[in-house]
Amino acid sequence: MWDYTDKVKEHFLNPRNVGQIDNANAVGEVGSLACGDALKLMLMVDAKEIIVDAKFQTFGCASAIASSSALTEMVKGMSLAEAAKVTNEDIANYLGGLPKEKMHCSVMGREALEAAIANYRGILLPMAEGEVVCECFGVTDVEVQRAIDESHLRTVEEITNFTKAGGGCGKCHDRLQEMLDASVKQVKAKIIPLKAPRRMTNIQKIKLIEDVFEREVRPTLRKDGGDIELVDVDGDTVIVSLRGACGSCAKSRTTLKEYVEKKLREQVLDTLTVEDDKA
């Protein structure tokens, strides 16, 4: 059984704003019967571009219904400009999180909202213009790329969880992997130019260090059964704790200096030094 939060269950059993707005001036429809879920979002937007009413109709599982209900509650009272900034993660967070296999339900909510705003403004969304990558669920490369970038996806499985692409026959898995590989290269390319020394607050350093750990260091260490944790940042000294196989590895000091420190100097600040917390 899925591990739904109480809030998901509550919104599923008692969904808010179910129904239609007959004279809605912003309507977004996404999904299909074949895909197993679909959402029609109807908004009433006033002259000041404030969303004064929101209703929905959804075909789908508990998390699809709960995500739709949450979305309507969130956007009521927002301006269109504010609503345009709502992300799928905002929807998932509103519900206290969704099982990872169900993240596509929150993505569907965000897409319906975008479609409704585009409908109000009379414009065409770029998603429809992309090239279909996953034929089973009709997902375009534009949608996949966006999910990779926005939600920092790293595996084909994650792409499937977020967009459904690759969840059917599996023929597009190679293409999805290519998109992931290309994105990783771009991320690296983007970060390297930031090498020039600059002043940073500790909070900024911690955030960037964690990013680098998560994106590059942990996946590498985990391949050898190890892991790393950030313990503290004191000025330019980064104190870490090596875990798992790395914790007892004779080469751990080399790993810290030659690999971890090098990565952090490249991508965060070139004056950083890395120390083991047990040293």
Partner: protein
């Protein structure tokens, strides 16, 4: 909390109280090892022999033709590997599109386990879930090593003519396996009158506990053990016997022989009452699977324009346990392979619900479901954009 109304017996069954009673001593005073050279262990060996005879009796088999395993999946794997090892030069197997994953996933991935590429013919089914025997006969070729076809389908309850299919396989000199985990105890099985080479059983589908299975291996059929180890099961399956569960399965089979009539009268009546009641009271509800050629306990109904997981979770809030072939419950993104093989349209496949009853269900429980399900479907349809489009004729 509501009383639990359990209608998910094709997933697993309640262990019969009579079965619990006979197995308990094997967790306490009768803990001996049946292989030991002392009476204390020996008496456990005798209990296993008795259980083997009880199971053989239900199947119309010789007790020596039974090998105890840990589950239906182990029985399936043992049978299929035995069959293909018997003719290692042949690289083609015949199965169906609607097999349980225990057979389907193994057949599709034999390459990974054997290092050889196997061609797999998966026989299709029609909209009633039935096989085409002409297609089956045409599927054989010189290279065919084995056939594996389930006796009854777990999702729809549809029964396949496996005895006839085994005859055809025999005439072609090909070994025949059937996964009968859903059939045994619900429909008569008499292996003496058939040419089936291998047959799999799972204890927990017929009111014995989880963790015990049986593989029937016809005398004279080539066999290779799947678990290599001690001399247990005459060297056909290593590992100390799961004595309590074996004794339990023996008792469950003895009970099943007696209760098969109840399954085919009272349980069937309850199933029909439930199914007919739901089809009559809920518009756009469709039965999946052949009406008569199916297990007496199983009903699979699609409720168009709604999604199965949402139905199940609403049923759950009133204590009703059922299951669904919808994508969202399967953990994948597509509806069940059985619904797709039958060509059930997407409008209906995502909203398919399986009720599987047992002798422990009552008329009151059926009435309770008949009362509570229609408003759930109505509520979800009122929320569904497709239902609204449909009512508007779009």
């Amino acid at each position: 909390m509501n009383k639990t109304i359990y209608m998910d017996n094709n997933a697993t069954t309640r262990v019969a109280p009579e079965v619990v009673e006979v197995m308990l001593p094997y967790f306490s005073e009768l803990y001996g090892n049946p292989s030991s050279m002392h009476t204390f262990g020996g008496q456990v060996g005798e209990a296993i022999a008795k259980a083997r005879a009880q199971i053989a009796q239900l199947l119309g088999a010789d007790p020596e033709e039974l090998v105890f395993t840990s589950c239906g999946t182990e029985s399936d794997s043992t049978a299929i590997f035995s069959a293909i090892r018997a003719t290692p030069a042949k690289r083609h197997i015949i199965t169906t599109r609607v097999e349980h994953p225990a057979v389907k996933n193994l057949a599709e991935n034999l390459h990974a386990f054997t290092g050889h590429k196997y061609r797999v013919t998966q026989l299709g089914v029609d909209s009633q879930g039935m096989l085409d025997l002409d297609e089956y006969e045409k599927a054989f070729c010189e290279d065919t090593a084995a056939v594996s076809v389930m006796w009854a389908n777990n999702e729809t309850g549809v029964i396949f003519p496996v005895e006839e299919m085994a005859e055809i396989a025999k005439s072609r000199g090909v070994l025949f396996h059937t996964d009968a985990v859903q059939a045994v105890g619900k429909v008569p099985v008499d292996l003496k009158k058939s040419t089936i080479n291998f047959l799999s059983i799972s204890g927990h589908k017929l009111h014995a506990p989880k963790g015990i299975g049986v593989l029937y291996v016809r005398k004279g059929t080539p066999f290779s053990p799947f678990l290599i180890g001690g001399h247990q099961e005459k060297g056909r399956r290593g590992g100390t016997e799961n004595t309590a569960s074996i004794v339990a399965l023996g008792k469950a089979c003895e009970l099943a022989a007696v209760r098969m009539t109840v399954e085919n009268t009272r349980v069937k009546h309850l199933r029909d009452k439930l199914e007919n009641g739901l089809l009559a009271s809920i518009p756009n509800a469709i039965r999946n699977g052949h009406q008569s050629k199916r297990l007496p306990n199983t009903s699979n109904i699609s409720f168009e324009y709604v999604e199965g997981e949402a139905i199940l979770l609403h049923l759950n809030t009133v204590g009703i346990c059922a299951s669904s072939g919808s994508a969202c419950t399967s953990g994948s993104l597509e509806p069940s392979h059985v619904m797709r093989a039958m060509g059930v349209p997407f409008t209906a496949a995502h909203g398919s619900i399986r009720f599987s009853l047992s002798i422990y269900n009552t008329e009151e429980e059926v009435d309770f479901v008949l009362k509570h399900l229609p408003p759930i479907i109505e509520k979800l349809r009122n929320m569904s954009p497709f239902w609204h489009n449909r009512s508007k004729g779009l």
